[in-house]
Structure formats: structure tokens, C-alpha cells
């Protein structure tokens, strides 16, 4: 790997002061923040990312960065909390089962102990053509070079939110829960703090897949807020070839509020099938107010995937994605509270 400078500041303001030099996007910024390092170090060894300077944020002493706490605004999750800390929190598991479910199914225990939630949502795609620099074509790595996945082996690639520039799928799990629950992202930059909707964090690839998020270069995620009340009837179905330690072929995070058999409120985030954490707004609109039956769930899934576009090896993701959503809805409905 290429040599880099290493800094370990004690507070967030110092950390962001070390970053923020102009760059086309935060992933190509010369300064990168590192938490658990579970993605960044990997990509540096592969020479996909070669930052000149790393700012280790694990020692930031700012109150709240490591914490998970609740108040009348909702649930606050510090960006430096580990995946393990949140998934092992019994009270969270009871009130927000979907958070626990997306985390314990997301990685091995070793990775969950290391990885921080702020970095987790920024995990970059597992597209093999992106991760291996010997492929010349990758618009994400080298804008304008083309996309080898379009006519390559694309069994794990996305069917929703794709473009002719990029079909790489978003690999994470936790983000599906955050997008379903309308989370906010708290950011700190050289110009101070700001808050955005989680739904606005990831950008569709369109014609610029190299710009993956709306983060400004040098901007730091400091936390997440899940506004409002709890979601005890919520779950995450992750479908994969291997029973554990594998990326999703398709996944669905579902949170329900039921009034008898009728759906009072429903939130859906889809994973494994899309280029970004995918809010299933069309399905939600059809389901809201309806009786939750398998037929209604299937209709909603049909509508959500109506615009899906598959390539040679990932056609199965359309029926699988629909089936996964139906299963998650029925599973949430069957939860005993």
C-alpha cells in the first residue's frame, strides 16, 4: 500500500480541520477519516483508494459520538458506536428490532466489533470490477472509462436505480433500516454542522457514479437521529446463498404499524437489489391503509419492481427481490409484540 500520514486528533472540530481540501468527491479526497477501517484499509491494500492522509476518528472525545441515547426527539446514534454495541443493546432490540436485525446479519462478529456505524453506511460496493484495479473499465474508479459489469459477470449487481454508467449494488444492511425509518444524518464540516435526510445521503449513479454521496469533501458523519417513536413491529429479511457472512442477494427492512389487519403505517427499505439504500415508496403508497394480505404484499412488490432493469446474470433479482419484500411484510405482521 502507498505511504500515508496518520493523525489521531482528540476532538471532532480538530478532525474536520485536518480535512476539507477541495476534491471532486469525498471518496477521492486526499484526507480520509478512518474508524474501524474495515472497508478503507481493504480498499487501500487493493489500491482502489490511496489517500495521502488518514485521520483516525476513534479517539474523538466529543460527547455523543460514541453514545446511543433517547430523548423526546427520538433515538440518537453516535457515529462512532460500533455495530456490535448497537446490535447488542437489548432495549434497542425490543423497540427497534429492525436495527438489531440489520446489524447482526451484516458481518462477522470480528467486523461488528471493529466497524463504526458512521463508516458502515459508507461501505463501498463489492462490484469486482470496481475492487480490482486491473480492470480498465470502471466509471466509479475512473470516470469515463466505461462499465465492465454491464457485459461481465453481474449476478450480484443491482436491478433498481441503475444507469448505463454503473450497476454496482450498495452492499450494506444497516442503511436499509435507517432509510426505512426516515433517519437524519448529522454532519460536521469545516463550516460547521448540518443535518440532512438519510434518504439524501446516497446518490443514484446516473452519469456520475464516482460521486457516491452528498457528503462534501472532509465532512464527517457525527450521528444519526431516528425521529419520533419506536418501531417494535419491524424486521429485516436478508436473503443470501450462504446462511451467514455473505452479502445480500436481496433484503428488505420493514417497519409496520397495524390497526387490526389494516396497515396504518409502513416503511420499507430494500437492499441487495439497488445501487443505493432503496426506499420502496411505491410499495408503501399501495400498502398504506390496505389490509395486509399476501396478495396485497405481492401487488406492492410488483409495483416497486416495475421499473427494475436486469442484465444477463441478475434477472433472478427481480422475482427474488419481490419475494423478499413479501416475506418481510408477512414476517413483520406475524411478530408477537
Amino acid at each position: 500500500m502507498r505511504p500515508f500520514e496518520y493523525h489521531a486528533p482528540q476532538d471532532a472540530i480538530s478532525a474536520v480541520a485536518m480535512a476539507g481540501e477541495p476534491a471532486p468527491s469525498h471518496v477521492t479526497s486526499l484526507t480520509q477519516f478512518v474508524g474501524g477501517g474495515t472497508t478503507l484499509f481493504d480498499l487501500m491494500k487493493l489500491d482502489v483508494m490511496h489517500p495521502a492522509r488518514l485521520v483516525d476518528i476513534t479517539r474523538l472525545g466529543d460527547k455523543g459520538l460514541q453514545q446511543v441515547r433517547r430523548d423526546d426527539r427520538g433515538l440518537h446514534i453516535g457515529a462512532l458506536a460500533t455495530m456490535a454495541a448497537l446490535s447488542d443493546d437489548g432495549a434497542i432490540a425490543k423497540d427497534y428490532p429492525v436495527l438489531r436485525d440489520t446489524l447482526w446479519q451484516a458481518a462477522s462478529a470480528q467486523i461488528r466489533n471493529m466497524a463504526r456505524l458512521g463508516g458502515n453506511v459508507l461501505q463501498r460496493t463489492r462490484c469486482p470490477y470496481f475492487r480490482d484495479t486491473s480492470y480498465r473499465q470502471c466509471n466509479k474508479r475512473d470516470p469515463g472509462s466505461g462499465c465492465a459489469a454491464l457485459d461481465g459477470f453481474n449476478r450480484m449487481h443491482a436491478v433498481l436505480g441503475t444507469s448505463t454508467s454503473c450497476i454496482a449494488s450498495y452492499p450494506g444492511d444497516f442503511a436499509q433500516a435507517l432509510i426505512a425509518l426516515d433517519a437524519h444524518v448529522e454532519l460536521l464540516g469545516a463550516d460547521g454542522p448540518r443535518v440532512i435526510r438519510f434518504a439524501d445521503l446516497h446518490r443514484l449513479p446516473e452519469d456520475a457514479p464516482q460521486i457516491e454521496t452528498s457528503l462534501r469533501p472532509g465532512e464527517l458523519i457525527t450521528g444519526f437521529l431516528i425521529p419520533g417513536g419506536t418501531w417494535p413491529r419491524s424486521t429485516y429479511v436478508k436473503v443470501r446463498d450462504r446462511a451467514s457472512y455473505a452479502f445480500a442477494n436481496a433484503s428488505a427492512a420493514v417497519a409496520l404499524k397495524l390497526d387490526g389487519g389494516r396497515i396504518e403505517d409502513v416503511r420499507i427499505g430494500l437492499g441487495g437489489v439497488a445501487t443505493v439504500p432503496w426506499r420502496a415508496a411505491r410499495a408503501e403508497a399501495l400498502l398504506k391503509g390496505a389490509e395486509l394480505t399476501e396478495g396485497a404484499a405481492a401487488e406492492a412488490a410488483e409495483a416497486e419492481f416495475a421499473g427494475a432493469a436486469a442484465r444477463e446474470h441478475n434477472r433472478y433479482k427481480i422475482p427474488l427481490g419481490k419475494a423478499t419484500l413479501v416475506r418481510a411484510l408477512l414476517q413483520a405482521q406475524a411478530m408477537e409484540l
Binding site: 500500500m1 489500491d47 465492465a148 459477470f153 443470501r240 446463498d241 446462511a243 457472512y245 452479502f247 416475506r327
Partner: protein, 742 residues
């Protein structure tokens, strides 16, 4: 829910030794053993390979200037300044290498991930940094990647044509058969992915060369390196006391070993090289993809009347490696009319090689899946269908099996598994959202043996040291050799220490073909017997032993023995010293050679979600008979590991190929899927006692490669029972089942 703290220790059955724990067990779990790359060399430099980003073409320009300029970079080798090596042939052609394409031999690229440069630096980080700064310009050509690719030629070399087995009149019998099956199957590319990465370290001391490398055949490596460097094998020593998994991938020398040794000679400095995980996919061998056509004909009462097995295997342009598993599949069941044929498809790939149960894993999968299809067509229980066609002789030659406990295995496993609960009708069993299916299949593995030599050293304390350059690839071979020696000498196993994996010791067999216990064990038994003879036929103990030493006027009694399997002569030992598998055997006294096989029967339960079609296997049961079992504890582990691997082959494993570019896609352990704990809830192992005094003096059949043979078919057959759909192309993944109505 805590799992039990220690795994169950199997009760030894009849004709089984003691279930001793491995004698190096504690050392291994506490991290004590030194594996090849842990062995120290003075002041080594680090070599890192740079591999090609295309599968076919030519290097137009390779620019190393930026890499050369990095402080700490010692030298960068390319085809323009490569150290000279002798051309050596593939091991099937009398040479030593597993792939005859010579790295850095010229500008041509003949497969994905070919070595195009070697960076030598003071440390690994510098070497990797430099590797990323090398710029290569290629002239690219379109590769022929696999079956069906334009330009991939199908051939049948003479050596393969000679393997075709025939009996009776297949065409006539098949045409006349009242019930027929005609189906095509396939298995994908697979890679071994042992946890211990491939590595080579080389150091010269004058004319003498020391090589540290994980190997399943150190004497082959010794002779192979010598041959490629044009030096006397006497001057090469190979050390490798422990191997962290191999499965065939460390069996035969690759081109990496002489290359690293030549670089060490050129730079006059010890060199260490570790092959990165992704590089291991193209710089070692692999299991080639195979295709099969099975045609079975049977009478309505279930007697097979016709069997044809045609196979196709992918190989490289440069070598004709094949596994040709028709040997097993044509002799498995009683059938008077047999035809078989194997062809090779030459593609722009590196040369494949051994991977656990090389011929049987793909070929028996196809046969056992077809047997299940025939049983269904006959509306017959699959176990009973096999019983009707069980045989004690080869249907091809009429030669007898020395022993065959297949149906005993079926009956024991069926009872434990609860096979009587199976409903023959597909889709008939459900539990909540899960469709449930049961399946079974036959496992088999031939008993092979190689010559072996061993030394034993006895001291007046009563301690015995056994020296044999055989290999413990994680199987428990150290303990097995210890037990065999202790039993022969009538001493406590703790008095016996075993030294292996080093060319300082007399050569043992390749740790392949499940031959180690039978072959190395027979040599150990023989040398211990010679030791006893020196002391009057039995080993005295305590004071008497010391007196015996005094009488002989020595403080050390040393014996050496050479063992050759039945039918092999002295030339087998000579071949062994040259690092060749040699041997052969052949007909004895004009009669066809008896068939020697270990057998097993495997049962699987699968559960398939009605909506998402994930496939889970909650239960596997296997019963196996392998002659004398030296150690039921380590044997059980071999069977467990085999069936778990078989589960992976059924559902998970495949090296994904970008056919357009001829390149492997999932070259890492996150995406090359092997079974994890969550995939393996419950595995029952039954060891069926069996006595076979004909196979060898120990009565031992090989078992390491037995258990992973039947599993994939058992699971695929269970998937049919659950869903009514035959998935004939491995692995069976959910996407192939999404169109099943449920």
C-alpha cells in the same frame, strides 16, 4: 445455547484403533507449530508477484520506472530480465510442474492472472506499493474461456481414449430398455482456498538450496526445483513440517518454486514470497468445470441394463490434464452394457489439477443424480434401487471387489436418518413456510497406494523416532503414524515421536489420493517390524531394553525400510526418490486386478423457503466403511469435513467466470462461498466396521477423500424431493428454483 465444550469422541467399533486425540493438538491450538512461511531465513528480501489483467494477448510495454525509484525496491523482474530456468514438462508427461507455461518466459499472456513481474523489496509494504506503480500496456485478444466459447477446441487425446470403459452392447440395450433416463449435468470451477496461503521461501548456501514451502509432496518439490534449475537434487532440501490445508492444491510443484529459487540465486539473498489470496486463484491449480451426459436404461423391476457416461472437462491450451472419473462410475453398479467417453475442452486458462476426490467428486455427482432420476422414473425407493443393482464384481472386467459394504452403509445411515419418513412424491412435506425434501447418494473412493520408505530410531530410554517424509495436511497423519508404530512395537504411543514433511527424511507418498495412512503406514509398520527383529522379535522394556543395547554395543538402533504396494516393484521406490508417483501395478497372474474401494451412503434433509427459495440443510447423515480405522476420532473429523465440504459443493461453491474476459470474479473469501458454521447444523457420522485383509498389510483403505463424494448428489436429490425440480447444474442456488410453483 452453548455447544458442548468438546466434540464427541467416537466409541471405536470392531476393527478400529483407539480414538486418541492428535498428539500435536494442543500445540496447534496454542499456535506453536511453525508452518512453511514461519520458518526463519537470515535477512530475507520479499518478493511479490504482479499478475496480468487480461487472459490472452501480449505485453507491448511494461514500465517499471516509478516502481524502481521507490526506496527499498531491490529489483523488478519481467520477461525482459527473467532469471533462466530449464523447461520442465507437466507431471503427467514425466516432468514435475503442474502447469507447463513458464512465467516471465516471454511477452505472451496465455491466461488470467499470469505472473508478469516480480517485485523484490526490503519489506512487503514497499513491494506492494511498487507493484501498484508498474504500468503495463497490452495488446488484448479475445480469450476462449470455457465450454461453448468461440475457439475452445474439443479433443480426445489417446491417453483419454484408452480410459473409455465398455462392456456388452450399450446402444442396443439402451434402445431396448423399457425405462430410460437421458440427462446432462455440470459442475463449476472450484478453488481449494486453504487457509494457509501458498508461499515459497528460498535460500542458497553455496551450492545448497533450502526451500520452505507448503507441500503435499516434498520429495517431488525437491526434485522438481532441481530439474527446473538444472542442479543436482542432492543439493536441494525442502522443509514443511505442517501444512495449513491443501486439498490437492499443494500437491505438485508450480512454476513459482523454481522462479523464487532462481531469484534468490540471482540476488544472492534469501527470498520470501507469499501468494496473495486473489493471486492463488490463478497461480495454483483448481478443479476444472465438467459436463456430463448420463444415459441409463433399466427394466421395469429396476435392473440396470444400459449405462453410458460421457464427460467433458476444461483444461488449458498447454496441458491435457483430466480427471476422467468414468473409472468409478462405470464400475459402481451391476449393468451388462456400458459405454463411456471423456473429452477435453482446451481454453485460455491455467492448467487445472487435483482437488479432493478429483475424479469422483464431479463424476459420481452426475451418476448419483441420474440414479435418483431413474429411481423416480421407476417409482422405486432410491435405496432399494441401489440394492437391486449392488454388485460384488466389476461389471466391466468381472474382477471382484476386495470388500464392499455399500448396502450396510445405506441401511445403517437410513435407519439413523429416518429415511422411512420420506414421502416419494415431491412437494409432499411442508413445515410452515418451508418445503422439506430428503435425498441420498453413494460415496466411494478407490484405495490407492504408493511406495513409501521410513526410518526408525530407538534409544535405550525406549523412545522411538519415526522419520518419513510424508505429510500431515491437517488430517491427523502424525497421530496415525504414531499409533501404527506404537501398535507394531507394543509400546505406549507417547513413546513414539514422528517426524514428517522434510526431505531430510526418507521419502513418503504424496499426501493425495487418500494414500498416506495405507502407504506411509505400511512403511512405518515394516520398519517397526525390522526394529523388533533386531531385538529378537519383540521390543523389551525397561532394564531389559538397556541390556539389549549393551549387548549390541550401541546407544542407538536405526532401521530403514522400503515398502511397495502389491503389484509394484523396486522401480516404484526409485520413482519415489525421484519425486514421481510411479508405481502402476497392473494385472496379477493374468487375472484382472481386484477392485479396491471404500464406500459410504449419505442422506440429506433440505428446507427451501416457499417465497425466497433459500436452501438450507438442517441434517446430514453419512455411514462409511473404509477397512481398518486407525483412529476413529480423526477419521470422524475427516468424514465430517468431507460432508461439510460436500454441502458447500452442492449449494455454494463456484469460481465465477467472466466469460467475455476469461477472468475469475470472486477471488476472495468473502465472495467465494464455502460453508460457515451457520450452514452446518447437524451432521451424523456412522463408521461401519469392515475387515479387508487384501488391500494392504494394515487393512486400511483411504478415507480422506471419501465423504465429500456423495453429498452434492444427496442434496440435489433432496431438492428434487422438496420441489419437484431437478437442478442438474451445481451449485444448486435459489435463483434456479424461483420458477417452482409453491
Amino acid at each position: 445455547m452453548m455447544a458442548e465444550a468438546t466434540p464427541p469422541v467416537p466409541e471405536p467399533g470392531e476393527n478400529m484403533g483407539k480414538p486418541l486425540p492428535r498428539y500435536e493438538a494442543r500445540a496447534k491450538v496454542t499456535g506453536e507449530p511453525l508452518y512453511a512461511d514461519d520458518l526463519q531465513l537470515p535477512n530475507p528480501a520479499i518478493a511479490l508477484f504482479v499478475t496480468s489483467g487480461i487472459a490472452r494477448g501480449r505485453i507491448l510495454q511494461i514500465d517499471t520506472a516509478a516502481a524502481d525509484a521507490l526506496p527499498g525496491v531491490l529489483k523488478i523482474y519481467t520477461h525482459l530480465n527473467a532469471p533462466r530456468r530449464e523447461v520442465t514438462k507437466h507431471y503427467t508427461e514425466g516432468g514435475y510442474v503442474s502447469d507447463s507455461a513458464v512465467p516471465l518466459g516471454g511477452p505472451d499472456i496465455v491466461n488470467d492472472g499470469q505472473i508478469v513481474a516480480v517485485v523484490v523489496a526490503e519489506d512487503f509494504a514497499t513491494a506492494r506499493d511498487a507493484a501498484h506503480r508498474i504500468a503495463i500496456r497490452y495488446e488484448e485478444r479475445s480469450p476462449s474461456a470455457t465450454f461453448g466459447s468461440a475457439g475452445a477446441a474439443t479433443i480426445q487425446p489417446d491417453a483419454l481414449a484408452a480410459k473409455s470403459k465398455k462392456a456388452g452392447d450399450f446402444a442396443g440395450a439402451y434402445a431396448a430398455a423399457p425405462v430410460k433416463i437421458d440427462a446432462e449435468y455440470s459442475t463449476p470451477t472450484m478453488h481449494h482456498n486453504p487457509i494457509e496461503l501458498f508461499s515459497t521461501a528460498a535460500a542458497w548456501n553455496g551450492e545448497r538450496l533450502t526451500v520452505h514451502e507448503p507441500s503435499q509432496f516434498v520429495w517431488q518439490l525437491k526434485n522438481g526445483v532441481a530439474s527446473a534449475l538444472g542442479i543436482d537434487p542432492e543439493n536441494v532440501e525442502v522443509r514443511d513440517p505442517f501444512v495449513g490445508g491443501a486439498f490437492g492444491s499443494k500437491g505438485m510443484m508450480t512454476q513459482r518454486s523454481p522462479l523464487i529459487a532462481a531469484i534468490a540465486r540471482d540476488l544472492r539473498r534469501p527470498i520470501r514470497n507469499v501468494v496473495l489470496r486473489d493471486q492463488g486463484f490463478t497461480l495454483a491449480t483448481y478443479r476444472a468445470e465438467t459436463r456430463h451426459r448420463l444415459q441409463l436404461g433399466a427394466t421395469r423391476d429396476g435392473k440396470l441394463t444400459a449405462l453410458s457416461h460421457e464427460g467433458w472437462e476444461v483444461t488449458s491450451r498447454q496441458d491435457d490434464y483430466s480427471v476422467a472419473g468414468i473409472e468409478a462410475t462405470t464400475e459402481m453398479y451391476a449393468c451388462p452394457n456400458i459405454a463411456s467417453k471423456v473429452s477435453l475442452v482446451k481454453a485460455d486458462r491455467n492448467t487445472p489439477g487435483f482437488m479432493r476426490s478429483p475424479p469422483e467428486t464431479p463424476y459420481m455427482y452426475a451418476l448419483e443424480a441420474a440414479m435418483d432420476e431413474m429411481a423416480a422414473a421407476l417409482a422405486m425407493d432410491p435405496v432399494e434401487f441401489r440394492r437391486i443393482n449392488d454388485t460384488k464384481v466389476s461389471p466391466v472386467t468381472g474382477a471382484p471387489y476386495t470388500s464392499r459394504s455399500l448396502m450396510e452403509c445405506y441401511d445403517r445411515a437410513a435407519a439413523t436418518f429416518g429415511w422411512n419418513r420420506r414421502k416419494a412424491e415431491p412437494m409432499a412435506t411442508r413445515e410452515g413456510d418451508w418445503l422439506i425434501g430428503y435425498g441420498c447418494a453413494t460415496a466411494c473412493y478407490p484405495t490407492s497406494m504408493m511406495a513409501a520408505t521410513a526410518r526408525a530410531i530407538l534409544t535405550p530410554s525406549g523412545r522411538v523416532e519415526i522419520q518419513i517424509a510424508a505429510h500431515d495436511v491437517g488430517t491427523g497423519a502424525y497421530t496415525a503414524m504414531q499409533q501404527i508404530a506404537a501398535r507394531e512395537l507394543g509400546v505406549d504411543p507417547r513413546m513414539v515421536s514422528v517426524r514428517m514433511g522434510d526431505t531430510a527424511y526418507p521419502p513418503g507418498p504424496v499426501a493425495g489420493g487418500s494414500m498416506t495412512t495405507a502407504s506411509a503406514g505400511s512403511a512405518v509398520k515394516l520398519v517397526c517390524d525390522k526394529l523388533k527383529q533386531r531385538l529378537g522379535g519383540a521390543l523389551p522394556s525397561g532394564r531389559e531394553l538397556e541390556q539389549a543395547f549393551d549387548r549390541l554395543g550401541t546407544r542407538r538402533i536405526e532401521e530403514y525400510a522400503e515398502w511397495t504396494p502389491p503389484g509394484q516393484g523396486k522401480e516404484a521406490v526409485q520413482a519415489l526418490y525421484k519425486g514421481q508417483m510411479g508405481g502402476g501395478g497392473g494385472a496379477e497372474g493374468g487375472k484382472p486386478k481386484p477392485l479396491m474401494y471404500a464406500f459410504g451412503a449419505e442422506f440429506a434433509e433440505v428446507r427451501i423457503h416457499r417465497l425466497t427459495r433459500e436452501i438450507r440443510v438442517p441434517r446430514l447423515t453419512g455411514a462409511f466403511a473404509g477397512g481398518h480405522i486407525v483412529n476413529p476420532r480423526t477419521a470422524r473429523s475427516q468424514y465430517l469435513g468431507g460432508m461439510i465440504w460436500g454441502l458447500g459443493q452442492a449449494l455454494l461453491e463456484q469460481t465465477e467466470l467472466d466469460e467475455l474476459r476469461g477472468r475469475y470474479i470472486n477471488d476472495n473469501l468473502a465472495e467465494y462461498l464455502v460453508a460457515v458454521n451457520a450452514d452446518v447444523p447437524e451432521v451424523d457420522i456412522i463408521m461401519v466396521p469392515e475387515v479387508d485383509s487384501q488391500v494392504n498389510p494394515l487393512g486400511v483403505k483411504g478415507i480422506g477423500e471419501l465423504a465429500n463424494v456423495g453429498t452434492a448428489a444427496a442434496i440435489a436429490n433432496a431438492v428434487y424431493n422438496a420441489t419437484g425440480k431437478r437442478i442438474r447444474d451445481l451449485p444448486v442456488t435459489m435463483d434456479k428454483l424461483l420458477d417452482v410453483p409453491a
